[in-house]
Structures are given as C-alpha cells and as structure tokens.
C-alpha cells in the first residue's frame, strides 16, 4: 500500500515496522503499517491484547522508534529527530493520554496542566494559568485548579490528563485506553470529551478495547498479529 498525504495530514505512517530482539530472534511488534489521519478525525485502534495497538500508538507519539519505514506527524518525519528534538516536537504537536492519569503528585491540578506549557515555553508565562483554567473548565474542573491530584476522583484525574494533553493545542491527541480504568459513566464522559475535540480540528488516535464505539469514531483501524487488518 502506498501512503497518500496532503499538506494538512496529521499522521502518516509509511511501511512502519517495529521489531524487538528476543532470545529466539527478532519479533515484530508491528509490521508494514501504512496509515494516514487527517485533522478532526477520531480514529480508534482495536485488536486483541498483544496485537500491536500500543506499539502503533508509541510509534505515532515518538515514544518508540520504527525499526524501518517512516512515521510523520504534523508534517515532520519523526524518525529523523533526536531525543530532545522529539521531546520538543511532542510538546508542540502531540498530547498523550494514558490509561492511568499519570499526574505528578507534587504539582497542583493547574500546574499539571501547565507542565507542557512550561516545558515548551511557547505560551507566554502570564497567559499559562488562564489557559490552564480554560482547559480545566472545558473538562468540567474549573473549581479544582488548586487541588492536589490525590484529592480528585479517578475520572476527574483522567479529565485533568486530557486537559494536560491539550495544553499546547496539539494537532494530535494520542490516547492509550483512556477509559480502561474508569467506570462506564466516567468513561463515556471522557470519550465524549475526545469526540468534542475533533470538532475543533484536533485529530484523535485512540487505542481501545471497547466495542460499540462506531457512533463516536470516524474510523476504526483493526490490528491483528502486528499488522493493520482493516481500516474502515
């Protein structure tokens, strides 16, 4: 398959492969992955455990590097970047939401949201708190900004994680089973939040185990045995 991109394509994988060394030889976590995601698309990645879903997400977010092939996000070939360039690129273009909120306990809720802004430094210092407040308001946590993460419920913490992922207005939100540790009601709230983001042009790539999300998702990419089995 040949990848076709436009000037606005957010994610483009072209024959990306990631192999891991094992005592019995190298094993492909994902192989020959070719995929594009356009702005405003909500793309779900599904598949059995160990099929390669998270590996795909890690390649897109620069958390892992392909053994071969090409990964381009926001018009930038990720494979050519060193670690620091990658960190800066990620801070600018990609927001990551994990299964667990991964909030830093020594920082307040607002500080956690400001963290990517502080690292990137693109937003003026005096505007960061207002931005964080707006983001937290957008996830329904305007009144929690000075609290410690530990004082929030699991669902609230995950919403803070979403707000943090949005801190620098990235082109792509990559979410790795963001509702996997939440009750169904809170999970639905998070999914709707991600869906709403796509209305602003943000692309969302979400790894999930959940079925029955077709109403929310624009596309579902199915991974089986490390390969993209379908993309519909």
């Amino acid at each position: 398959m040949t990848v076709t991109t436009t000037d606005t394509t957010v994610v483009a994988l072209d024959g990306a492969e990631r192999r891991y060394p094992t005592p019995d030889g190298s094993l492909a976590g994902i192989a020959d992955a070719t995929l594009t995601i356009e702005p405003g698309q909500f793309v779900g990645v599904v598949g059995a455990s160990g099929s390669g879903k998270s590996t795909l997400l890690n390649l897109v977010t620069g958390i892992d590097r392909p053994t071969s092939g090409r990964v381009s996000v926001a018009g930038r070939d990720v494979t050519s970047l060193d670690e620091d360039e990658l960190a800066r690129w990620r801070g600018e273009h990609v927001g990551v939401v994990f299964q667990f909120p991964q909030l830093i306990p020594t920082l307040t809720v607002a500080e956690n949201v400001m963290l990517p802004m502080d690292f990137l430094g693109a937003i003026p210092r005096q505007d960061r708190l207002a931005n964080a407040r707006d983001l937290l308001a957008s996830v329904g946590l305007a009144d929690q900004i000075d609290k410690a993460p530990g004082a929030l419920s699991g669902g609230q913490q995950q919403r803070v994680a979403v707000a943090r992922a949005l801190a620098n207005r990235p082109a792509l939100i990559a979410a790795d089973e963001p509702t996997g540790n939440l009750d169904s009601h809170t999970g639905e709230m998070i999914l709707q939040l991600l869906k709403d983001l796509t209305d602003t042009g943000t692309a969302v790539l979400m790894v999930t185990h959940e079925r029955g999300l077709s109403a929310l998702l624009d596309r579902v990419v199915t991974i089986a045995d490390g390969r993209i089995a379908s993309d519909a």
Binding site: I63, D64, A87, R88, Q102, T106, E111, D118, R128, R164
Partner: protein, 774 residues
C-alpha cells in the same frame, strides 16, 4: 532451592546495581567506624606497651658528683629495686641548618642499660668513644645519615663524632615537638666534648604498683641517704608512673579519635538506615506479588530480613577489610607522629562486635518498622501503590516558576520523603561538620601563630653557651648594623602555685624592662611593666587551670613570692610553659644574659651580624634561630593537625556522599513514571537532569545547614583538644567562613557529580519503559 531462597535471591538480583551499592555503603560505614575505633585501640595499646618496654625511671635525681658511686647507696633504700647512673646534657651541633641543640644521653655501660632504655635499630651498637647513635626521630630535625660526622660543641670544647647507628627511644617526647636532636654517647665522648665524663643523674626504679606519691617519698628518702653520704641532690623529678612524657598529646589524640569514632558511627547508622528503608519501600510491588501468592506477613518479612542479612554480611566482610586497612593507615600516621612502633596492628576484640552491630543490628533495626508495615499492607493496596514515591500535597499553584518548572519540581521533590531527607542530611551533614571543623581548627592555629609572631618584633634569638655581661655587645652590635639587641636571662624551674606544683620544668625568662619582643597575645590581665615588683606573666599552658591573675607563686631556685599579673598565649613555649619575670631570679646574675634577641636589616643579615658580634665575645652561640624558623616549626604542627583531621573528615564525607548517591538513585528509581510522563509532555533531557540535580542540591543545602550547626559545637570540642595537645590550653574559638564556603563548594560539586549519573539515567530512560514501571 526453596521458594523462599529463590525469593531472597530475587530480591538481591532484581537490581544488582543497587544491591552492590548497599553492600558498598554498609562496607564504608563499617570501615569508617572500624578504622577509627580500631586505630584508637591499637594506638592506646602501643603507647602503653612501648613505654613499659623502656623500663622508665620512677624517679630521677640530679646530683653533683659521680652518680655511679651513688648507685649502691640508692639500692639500699627501701622501695628502690634498681638504680642506675646516667647523664643527659644539651650541647650544640653544627648542621646544614646551622647550630642546633643536641641532647646527649650517656650511661656507664649500654650493654647493661636497665632504666629508661632505648633500642638499637640500625648500624653499630653500642656507641664507642668518638661515636654517636642518633635517636631515629632526630632525623626529622637534621639532615644527617649513618656514616656522616657531626660536630658537637660545648663551652668546654668540641668534638667530631661519627654517626654509627640509629636507636629508637619510645619513652621520649618525639623530636618534632621539642626540636632537639637526641644522641646516645659514651661517658668518654662527653669528656671529649668538654662537658666532663661524669654521670650526674641517678635513675631509680621502684616496686611495681607504687603510685607517684609513694615514689616521691622513696626519691626523697634516696636523696636523704645520698646527702648523708656527701652528695648534693639539686633536683628530683618524679613522673606519673606508666605515663609517657607525651601522654597529654597522645591522650588528646586518642580523644579526637574517639570523638570522630562516635561521629562516624552516627553517620554510618544514618547511611545504612537510609539504604535499607529505601530498599524495602521500593519493594512494595514485589510484596504484593508475594502476598497474592499466599505469603503471610511474617513470611514476607522473613524474605526481606534474610535478603538484608545477606547484604549486611557481605558489607561487613568488605567493611572489616577496609577497617583493617584504615586502622593500619591511621595508626601508622599516629605512630610516625609519636615516634612509636606498633606491637600489633590488630584492633581490640570489642571493635569487631561494634562493626557487626553497624552492619547487622542497625540495618535490621532500621528495617523492622517498614518491613512490618509493608508486609501488612493489603494486597490490593500493594498493587495500587506500586513503586511510586509518596508526596505531600502541593500548597498552591505556582505559575511559570522563574527558574523553570523542572527546577521547581526538583525543589519540591527533595521534601517528598522526609525520613530519607533527614537520614541523608545527617550522613552528609556529619561529613560537612567534620570538614568545617578541620578547616576551622587549622584556621585557629594559623591565627594564633600569626598573632604570636606579629606581637614579637625580632629577627633572631640566640642562646649562649655561657652568660655574658649585659651591654657588653652593644658597641659591636651597632657597628654591625643591628638596630636592637636585647639581653635576656633564662632558667628552668619548677613552678609552685597556691594549690601546689603546676609546672615541672617551665622556662623562666627575664626580659629587659624595655623589651619589644616579649609581648605575647594577652588572654587575661596585663603585660609586665617597668615598675613591676616581683610580678610574673605566665603562659596559658601553666595558667590553665591552676593559675589565674592575682595568684601568687614561687619558682625553684628563688625564695621570693611572685604575683601573676597576666596570662598570655604562647605556642612556641611548648607544653611545659613559660614564666616571664619582672626582674631576674635570685639564682640569675642580673648583670649578665644567656639569651640574645636581635633586630636588624632582615633575618639573614641579623644572623650573620650576630655571628660576627659574637666573634669578639668569650661566649658562643649554642643555638640560634630566626623568627621565621620558629614560625615554620609551628606551621609544621598545623599540617599535622589539619592532615589528621582532614583524613578523618574525608572518610566521613565519603559516607555522606554515598548516602546522597543512594538517595538520588532511589529517588529516580521511584519516579520513573513521573519522568516518563514529563518526557511525554515535552520535557527535554536537560529539564529532567536539572530536576534531579536541583533535588540533590536542595538535600546538600539542608545538609550543609545541619553541618554548620553541628560544626559550631564540634569546632569547640576539637579546638580545645588540639590546643591541649600542642599548647597545653584550648585554642581560641575560631570560625573560618572561607572554610564553610569551600565545604559548600565541594559539597555542591559533589552533589552535582553524585546526582549526574541518576540524572542521566533518568534523562535517557525510554518513555515506554519508564511508564511501564510506573
């Protein structure tokens, strides 16, 4: 292999690097405590054994006449078990360094020498007529080797002596303290030098177990018996039985070692506790796995206690090896200082249980509570808790911290584990306190040496072989360009204060009333003035604690009562002390002088001018030295003091640094998830590094504050002890801020260095792995 053994191995192998670090830390703690306590026991035992091996005299009587003839009379006195004639006389010798005092010891037959003996060490023994065997420590004072010749000179003549061998006298104050060259010669050699071949002292040994008072009574009875037979006894000296002449120095050295031993123990306990508690806390996840598999709390605890015991045993084995090496190094240093040879370098038996306690009991005690607590955590909680580090809730939101978010986070992280912060701070703070104390003590010494020589205005001091009339050299001194020539009288006398004898052989100096070179720094009272009548100023070593301003005293060889008007600090007088008198003693000839102090156009010029002046005199210079030489001699003491203190301090500093390395490495391991998150949120490597280094710097900063607080006390203790060793009185409390700054600089550099490895580990940590372990 049982499941429990496999689990213990698993605990140890799960992070081999950390296990090795724990072993190293326990070894360093054990080594530091063992080395300091071990050297204490070795030195203490060696001092006792060495001194006893010389069969020291219990009393020495100085006579007029031939003491050989007095031996039989003395042996008949009840309580005297042995009596032996000897002679100890000071002449001068020519050397590359100029004239130096040479103390000669002679006995009738060295082959039958029985009291206060020295041991042949190399070359020929015993010395024949025209030969000299030097006490080995003298070689520190003079550049002479076996096979060379030296010129010994007295007012009565001079002789060329062949240096034929070296001997060791462990019962004598080390040469570097007295500045005297010591040699063993035959009575015939004494006669050749012109001081007469008679032996004029009688050394006595009394029955074992007698105390000083009893020995004193026996010495008095012997003196009476000799007087009855026509001898004149001019001086009786009765030392404390079994006490080395330099016992004060040695005792204080041992005291210092004890003090540092306690400090090292505290530091080691803190270090080991830090390690152990951190290791157990890190294992929460594994505990969950064990409990899921059906392990009871007791079984979980036993796994960790067994693993810890294995680590502690390994640390103990390595630590004992290090302690033995450290004991050898510290003891060797002390023996060089004290001119002693070790009888054995093996520490006392009780040092080993103490080391075992540091290695085994302390970690097990420290681990008890956390293991008990963690082993009782419910399974679900263990799983959820994972290996993340606890944190206190932040108090408020800080927007765009001025130094960056990573710096701000580093600062906050330092406080996340208060217990670990305290233990690391104690380990590091103790090391800092020791280093600051060492530098303060060096500065105190430097300061009082500078004060002493700033107060004295002279180029050269010379002791003459015989008295010369005062003012007899004024005309020739003026011709030779000497601006000032002071005539001093000197004597050596016992000093008796209101509560009894306070000085055995204090130097009594009678300077001219208008002297400009006798003003030592005042500690109390005032200096002598021209209109004083029987007033004295005493050095601090005599005054402390027996004499104070207003007290009266008497001086041997003088019937008058003298009033103390001032106390001064004097380093150059040594431990015996000095008394400055307002007028000559009745035993002194007021119109003559035995010491000259001259000031001219620089020290070398003044010394040369004085030699020329003395060519026209009947007397000659016995010993002459410049003010710089005297200052240099005191500065040499400084290197010894600071050297010893710094060696011990650096050992303690190493313990503290290991604690810091461990704390930082643990902190990074605990926060792998957070670091992964930071990187996923756009943090570059330098931000992560900065965060870790800042955390280390905060810990170091707090430790430095603790160290400074501890050093304020430790400085007082050590400066008092060092002052007592070398001057007989406490050094003035001195706090040297540049030393604190230097310590802070070194600690900051060490913090950066010790955190850099964990910091880079954190920065290089792949996000995927970091998050997987969160």
């Amino acid at each position: 292999m049982t499941a429990r053994t496999a689990l213990v191995k698993g605990v140890l192998r799960s992070n081999a690097g950390r296990t090795r670090l724990m072993i190293a830390a326990i070894a360093v703690g054990v080594g530091a405590v063992g080395a300091i306590l071990g050297s204490h026991t070795v030195i203490e035992r060696t001092i006792e054994d060495s001194y006893a091996s010389t069969q020291p005299a219990d009393a020495t009587l100085t006579l007029t006449g031939d003491a050989v003839a007095a031996e039989a009379i003395a042996r008949d006195v009840t309580g005297v078990t042995q009596a032996e004639a000897r002679r100890e006389v000071t002449v001068r010798m020519a050397s590359a360094e100029g004239w130096q005092p040479l103390t000669l010891i002679a006995v009738a037959d060295f082959a039958a020498w029985d009291i206060g003996i020295a041991f042949a060490e190399s070359g020929n023994w015993p010395p024949q007529d025209g030969e000299i065997v030097l006490e080995r420590a003298s070689l520190q004072e003079v550049d002479v080797a076996v096979g060379d010749s030296i010129t010994a000179q007295s007012p009565g003549g001079e002789a060329e002596l062949s240096v034929v061998g070296l001997a060791h006298d462990p019962g004598r104050t080390p040469a570097w303290m007295t500045g005297q060259v010591i040699g063993l010669v035959s009575p015939g050699t004494l006669a050749d030098i012109g001081v007469g071949g008679n032996l004029t002292a009688l050394a006595l040994r009394t029955a074992p177990g007698f105390d000083r008072d009893t020995n004193s009574d026996i010495a008095d009875a012997t003196a009476s018996a000799l007087t009855a037979e026509g001898f004149t006894v001019t001086h009786v000296a009765v030392p404390e039985p079994g006490e080395h002449p330099a016992a004060g120095v040695m005792g204080t050295l041992l005291y210092l070692l004890q003090a540092f031993g306690v400090v090292a123990f505290v530091a080691a306990v803190a270090l080991v506790s830090t390690l152990v508690v951190a290791e157990v806390k890190r294992s929460t996840g594994m505990i969950a796995v064990m409990k899921t598999g059906g392990a009871t709390s007791g079984q979980v605890a036993r796994v960790y206690v067994t693993a810890l015991a294995a680590v502690a045993t390994a640390g103990l084995v390595f630590g004992i090896g290090g302690a033995m090496a450290g004991t050898w190094a510290l003891s060797s240093f002390a023996f060089t200082l004290l001119n002693l040879d070790a009888t054995s370098m093996l520490a006392a038996w009780w040092v080993f249980p103490v080391q075992a306690a540091v290695a085994l009991v302390v970690p097990l005690a420290a681990v008890g509570l956390p293991v008990r607590r963690l082993s009782r955590i419910p399974v679900r909680e263990s799983i959820v808790t994972g290996s993340t580090a606890p944190a206190r809730a932040p108090r408020r939101t800080v927007v765009g911290p001025r130094w960056g978010r990573a710096v701000s986070m580093g600062g906050r992280n330092a406080w996340r584990q208060p217990g670990r912060l305290v233990l690391t701070g104690v380990s590091l703070g103790v090391g800092a306190a020791a280093v600051i104390t060492a530098l303060n003590t060096g500065a105190a010494w430097d300061r009082i040496v500078a004060d002493e020589f700033r107060a004295q205005d002279f180029d050269v001091q010379a002791r003459l072989t015989e008295p010369i009339p005062r003012e007899s050299l004024d005309a020739s001194a003026a011709r030779e360009g000497l601006a000032r020539l002071e005539y001093w009288n000197t004597a050596v006398a016992t000093v008796t204060g209101p509560d009894g004898q306070v000085g055995d052989v204090a130097a009594v100096l009678s300077p001219p009333a208008d002297s400009t070179s006798a003003t030592f720094p005042l500690v109390d009272g005032r200096q002598l003035s021209a209109d004083d009548d029987h007033a004295v100023v005493v050095s601090q070593s005599l005054a402390d604690p027996e004499l104070s301003v207003g007290d009266t005293l008497t001086l041997e060889g003088d019937d008058a009562t003298w009033t103390v008007v001032g106390v001064v600090r004097q380093l150059s007088g040594g431990l015996d002390g000095t008394v400055w008198v307002s007028e000559p003693l009745s035993s002194m000839n007021p119109s003559s002088a035995t010491v000259l102090r001259v000031t001219g156009e620089g020290e070398d010029a003044s010394l040369a001018a004085l030699e020329r002046v003395m060519e026209g005199s009947d007397a000659s210079i016995e010993i002459a030295g410049t003010a710089t030489d005297a200052k240099q001699s005191l500065d040499d003491h400084l290197y010894i003091i600071t050297g010893l203190l710094l060696v011990m301090s650096i050992g303690l500093g190493a313990v503290g640094l290991l604690a810091l390395v461990e704390a930082m490495s643990t902190a990074v391991a605990e926060r792998r998830g957070e670091i992964g998150l930071m990187k996923s949120a756009g943090a570059q490597s330098r931000a992560v590094i900065r965060m870790v280094v800042i955390e280390a710097l905060v810990v170091v900063g707090l430790a430095l504050l603790a160290g400074v607080a501890l050093a304020t006390v430790l400085t007082g203790v050590v400066e008092s002890a060092v002052g007592a060793i070398f001057t007989g009185a406490a050094l003035p409390y001195t706090w040297w801020w540049p030393g604190v700054a230097l310590t802070a600089l070194v600690m900051t550099a060490a913090a950066a260095a010790s955190s850099i490895v964990p910091a880079y580990e954190a920065a290089d940590m792949p996000i995927r792995e970091a998050l997987a372990q969160a």
